[in-house]
Symmetry: C2
Subunit: 657 residues, 2 copies
Amino acid sequence: MKSASDRWSRVFIVSVSPRVHEGEWHIKRTVGERVNVTADIIVDGHDQLCAGLYVTRLGGATEEIRMTPTHNDEYTGSFVTQTPGLYTYHVRAWIDRYGSWQQQYGRRFHADMPEAELKIELLDGAALLKEYAVNAHLDARDQLLAFAKRYTGGDIQAPLEEESLQLALANDPQKGAVQSATLTVEVDRKLAAFAAWYEFFPRSSANAAGMHGTFDDAALHLGRIRDLGFDIVYLPPIHPIGTTFRKGKDNHPKANPNEPGSPWAIGSPDGGHTSVHKELGGLPAFDRFVKKAGKLGLEVALDIAFQCSPDHPWVKEHPEWFRKRADNSIRYAENPPKKYQDVYPLNFECADWRALWEELKNVFEFWIKRGIRVFRVDNPHTKPLAFWTWCLGRLRTKHPDLIFLAEAFTRPKIMYTLAKLGFNNSYTYFTWRNTKEEITEYLRELTSTNVAEYFRPSFWPNTPDILHEYLVSGGRPAHIIRYVLAATLSPVYGVYGPPYEHILAEKHPDREEYANNEKYEIRTWNWNDPNSLQSLFQAMNRIRKNNAALQELRNLQFLNIQNPLMLAYWKNSGTNSIICIVSLDPFQVQEGELHLPLEALNLPQAAPFQMLDLLGGERYIWQGGTHSIRVDPHIMPAKIFQVLRRVRTEADFDYFV
Amino acid sequence: MKSASDRWSRVFIVSVSPRVHEGEWHIKRTVGERVNVTADIIVDGHDQLCAGLYVTRLGGATEEIRMTPTHNDEYTGSFVTQTPGLYTYHVRAWIDRYGSWQQQYGRRFHADMPEAELKIELLDGAALLKEYAVNAHLDARDQLLAFAKRYTGGDIQAPLEEESLQLALANDPQKGAVQSATLTVEVDRKLAAFAAWYEFFPRSSANAAGMHGTFDDAALHLGRIRDLGFDIVYLPPIHPIGTTFRKGKDNHPKANPNEPGSPWAIGSPDGGHTSVHKELGGLPAFDRFVKKAGKLGLEVALDIAFQCSPDHPWVKEHPEWFRKRADNSIRYAENPPKKYQDVYPLNFECADWRALWEELKNVFEFWIKRGIRVFRVDNPHTKPLAFWTWCLGRLRTKHPDLIFLAEAFTRPKIMYTLAKLGFNNSYTYFTWRNTKEEITEYLRELTSTNVAEYFRPSFWPNTPDILHEYLVSGGRPAHIIRYVLAATLSPVYGVYGPPYEHILAEKHPDREEYANNEKYEIRTWNWNDPNSLQSLFQAMNRIRKNNAALQELRNLQFLNIQNPLMLAYWKNSGTNSIICIVSLDPFQVQEGELHLPLEALNLPQAAPFQMLDLLGGERYIWQGGTHSIRVDPHIMPAKIFQVLRRVRTEADFDYFV
């Protein structure tokens, strides 16, 4: 459009949204979700425009959706995604020449223009219809020409008939049409956007204390995890563990002979990334575990950590895949003065990088063949972004149902770029956002900016690597608070289950992580502790499944509650509305005045409505926008209200989650 | 980067700013202005990056500016524009391999790594320096190799010398460097970003009432306009005016024989867009006018309205350039039921469009040859955007000192797109933004969003087409308020002078414009009215020229003043700080408490500072952030404070604007 070439158009597509970086990356959506597309389209003067949205499922046919003008030169159209995979969409726009003529004609007609004048104008309309008829199919052609004939015959009423407009719209040759850049949407299955993850170490699942659990032991816990309402069972690496420089208790540089080592020190003479640790029962036990999970409706997520112990088979078979020092020894991981002699990083830039990259992709393919569809990727930010773009792109094209969670607790721009290039879920800074201001600001960034188009947060109150001081000092109420926040603020959340549910939050003296860390030793859990948070897990996951509002990310809106230690927010989806009130103080009773913007929430101004606390079970009849809320952290530091817009009759009162 | 081709890099340029739509359009700057470029650049792992900013003046050499990391993976660099015209810039980034090695080495060294180990690491550093030496120029090569030799010789202190780092930085072969898209900046001369325009009708400049003034009469007013401090004299169209369907007083459909017609009905048998109206003295008088203006340091802006009266020579010479009706008559402008029979629009889509477009461009070229460099373009939004892109692009390439002001009071996206495609200045909605909320919101959009990168507002409190009710009812105080707002909020502003300075704000009964509109008749002004606003114009233009803060757009910051009818804002440039307080109430005295964020404004917390009201001439000694301000609209509804950061000594007190 920048030079007076033979092709130029009066129509100008200023921008199309949603998009990420002018279409360089995909936006993310889930199956069955409506994608609302808005285009800003302008033309000089006062002509009317037509715009179409063209959607193609990769390899499929193109669907055309007519866009509707809203206001301020915006046109909207939408489509519903059907299956996982990549869709492309673009916008096309052209001048509605007949429509513009017809509108002008109507104004002339109603302004009582002399009939002779109108008859002259009619000839222009006839000429347009004849032009439109040229490539119209037979029926339409005849109808268009019939109208044209009435116009040339001087029938000044004819153009006022709605039918001419519809005919012309359907047969417009779209002269001078322009097209936007092609944008893409990566469509995931629902589990990528709404899921509860449960992490545990299978080796700690034996009945007898200190014994190394197997996958068959671990499988006995699957029913319990399913009953707690989780969707995904996530396992730390399951591969053979190296012995060279094996780490002892709490990352001690030397392990005693009986210590099991860290599962992230991957590889031994028994095998590497496509083997299962012998003490876990090997591949057959793993297969049984996955099968049982499947029967229970649970998915198994594997932890893929692309690093090797010095005993990994690749070290011998492909020494060229590692960095060497000048003395020809392999370079271990290091952050001087810290040394990680039990871990050899891979050299993604080695001369043989093509073979290495293929082999790493094959690791995923291996587990995909064994039924795994969900992967938690360890430290993706220490591997080239170009590798992930390539690897995830290839895998997703072949298996559109894959879900990758990026474990990248790194700087924001790297975190976001990993999401753009293909990770479906991402760990976040949630763990370090504990005050009202921190949470509000961070959630606004994640839910109300363009970030929400491509970055799907997964909120974890704890992990084997991170135990925040808030949990350490706040005890049970703090655990409830952070769990409720994670599960209601973000539709995807996870918990490193055993220590969390038993509120065993003893901190390592030097590091922001658990003491007696399960990464380096086998732990034994009292699975039947009546004081555990298991019933909270169960209630929360049930509430999430029953309330569509909690299954979306971009619907979050913070509400005004007059207490800096209390948080209030609203989520709505269709007719389902949830208001969460969470006290951030794990120690003292807090009280705050909540101000509901009744009109914005579609709540009655002058009639009562019902608030049902799905956690506590109480019902309240409210009227008006101001309410005082009191929360005792030692009873329950949070309220999850379902809003019932009218006070129901007695018969409705059996409704309960 | 999206496939594992042979070329991939670990470095990733996430984004570069400033830019407009990923570089589709130019950003705008002025000569001598510093362009600050920020790039978000990431790499996996912990390697250090180098980034360079490469700037090319069209047709000139490329300058490299080393970028500096700031925080959060951002790198900044800047350049100062030298001459008007188009500059391109892009960012290039690569891994600082030697720097990364050296940093790691330093940490090893200071962590007391055994000497034998350090000597192994030294060999890696030596290998890098030898690689860098290959393409280094002779001197540097020798120095690099000398360092390498010391490393291979086991000199463990050598890498700690700063010199090795500087040498390596300067000779880095930049392996795996990546490059951003090329962005562009259109550099204008200063007048495009800071100018005061004065509009008047030369035909109303005769001494005797009712007489048709000539350019020689008009030239007598140039000295006065210069003395008032204006930079640009803007004239409505100066071409022969058609007689067919000529409009009479106040747009009456029929003119009396003695009525002069509207200058926008361009063209008569005397000529068209490249002729000067006979009664104005023709081309020779115009040339004398332009010459005199030039001598006085004033520029003349012409109004280019691409439309024709039925008497325009093109109608006969190029009937194919106009739209025809079916009866072969030329279609006049129309907005049914309204008819504009005195105006024929041009058909930019006609078969002969190339010749038409060339001819229109030649209109500009004609006046450029006669010394005109500033054009106000009438209704550009009714002509194809593609035409302007082409026409302004060609003209600007040849004459980088041209300034085009878009008179497009149209919908926001068209207005903004006209600025993107090349208009240097734009009329705005300022006239219709009168309340505190309206002004604050609109100015935030114009000054603090990406709009400010390409859209340069020109604020006009009035035009021959628009007389806002606020001026009609508010009288003299309203005129002062709107003038001060225009001249201080926007560095480019203009005023349709004569009726404004004489506060003749009689409104047409049906339309938002002046009664006895000068567009249709010759007016006579009392140029020596002692009650006029001429002294305000003079003071304001002097204040603007003396205070750099008022010459910038993006430095605007609103301040908190506790009165909904009072506006307070701050502008700063270098050491020059201006605080404006404007009452928006033209009727009553207003008082408000001003809260200055002292730290943000770099004002002392616990020491007095001086406020000098440049309009009223009073001085105040202030201390602290809270001050009560009282404004009487019948004395002066605005205060323009220059902030003097310390209370000066007696000797400084002769400072006055």
